[in-house]
Symmetry: C3
């Protein structure tokens, strides 16, 4: 069997951790691996569409979490030295000058290379996220789905 499987649980919404996650995913996919990124808790923010999507049936608290959590990759901050968004902007300038791919490009590239982007349905239930609020092409799984994939993978990371 020449194909290896990799899974990443993307728990955090830090810009730098999302970068790490997507660089590993893209690298592995380029080497022919089947990669699944399982977005859970704050990580779900990465999969949100940048524009507000009208939804029905959310509780007041779920609306509050929805409003306070970031919408998509462009709003994420660094886990350290973010200084209210200045840090992440400077990091992006450094990345651009080096010719490194942006987080958005890494996400698109991951999808194009067949990396499975999976949203955790339990988190969606708790925080009231709807499928239509997330990027097109995203799949949906619970913990059993994650474990089934992880059981067959040779690298499983929690980021």
């Amino acid at each position: 069997m020449s194909t290896n499987k990799k899974t990443i649980i993307m728990f955090s919404d830090d810009f730098d951790r999302a970068m790490a996650s997507l660089i590993i995913a893209n690298g592995a996919a380029a080497m022919g691996d089947e990669v699944t990124i399982f977005f859970t808790f704050w990580g779900l923010e990465i999969l949100r569409k940048a524009k507000k999507v009208q939804t029905k049936g959310k509780s007041l608290l779920q609306k509050m979490f929805g409003m306070m959590m970031h919408k998509g990759t462009r709003k994420l901050g660094l886990s350290k030295m973010n200084f209210g968004g200045i840090g992440v902007r400077l990091m992006k300038v450094c990345m651009k000058k080096t010719g490194a791919m942006s987080l958005e490009e890494l996400l698109t590239s991951a999808q194009e290379q067949g990396v499975k982007l999976v949203a955790c349905t339990l988190t969606m239930d708790i925080l009231g996220f709807r499928k239509e609020e997330l990027l097109d092409g995203v799949e949906f799984m619970g913990v059993a789905g994650y474990l089934a994939v992880a059981d067959e993978a040779n690298v499983n990371l929690f980021i």
Copy 2:
């Protein structure tokens, strides 16, 4: 061999990370896996009894760490948007309304399903934690113990 093994190093004391850890552990145990959660550093707080336990022979510094570190699951906060405890309370309300299990229920369920809860003895030595301060049924291991289990597991996470 039909049984798979899983290990989780629970390093953090964030409520949300503890949730992730115990949801994965319970899910895997329900599927017949042998799961070991190795609680180390701040993660040890999750295993502490809620009530203060009288202990002898702690140094002043160890007493300080003991007082400042949380006692059990009910005191944990979110890794993001905790706002002095408001965030975690709102999260718990959302969880209850969705019918999701509470952290305490997940911990009890894990023990009932045979998930091994292991306290890191090195952290206990450094911070001066005594066995009687931790939940009943907890086991004790050093890094060699962890590695022996991880070597036989097919999924090993650091949370």
Copy 3:
């Protein structure tokens, strides 16, 4: 095959996480495993020489990141309860009294036991770190290098 391989991605610059990482690495190496620690993003700080190294050709932003990021293990703080450096000092006192190895000793011991310390070249490019700023004996790899090692390892952690 009696030798197992282990990889750790050291993403963070927290003192406590660096401790966890190096304790696992030393433990595994002592048991005969081949261990590779891949230092990326903030984790690169752990590999920096304590003294400033003169470098050429850095952009202004790269110089800024270079100045603001820690130089070596002695400057790292705790991920929790650091209180501007007091927390980490008290932790070090507790460690010393218990006879636990210091972070510096763990790093030296890891190198002596043959643990491979690898610096992520992509992070170095983005933040402008030069090879001569990092400890002697450090190796250099990109994500493909990491994946090649991880594919052959039976424990892969992201810390």
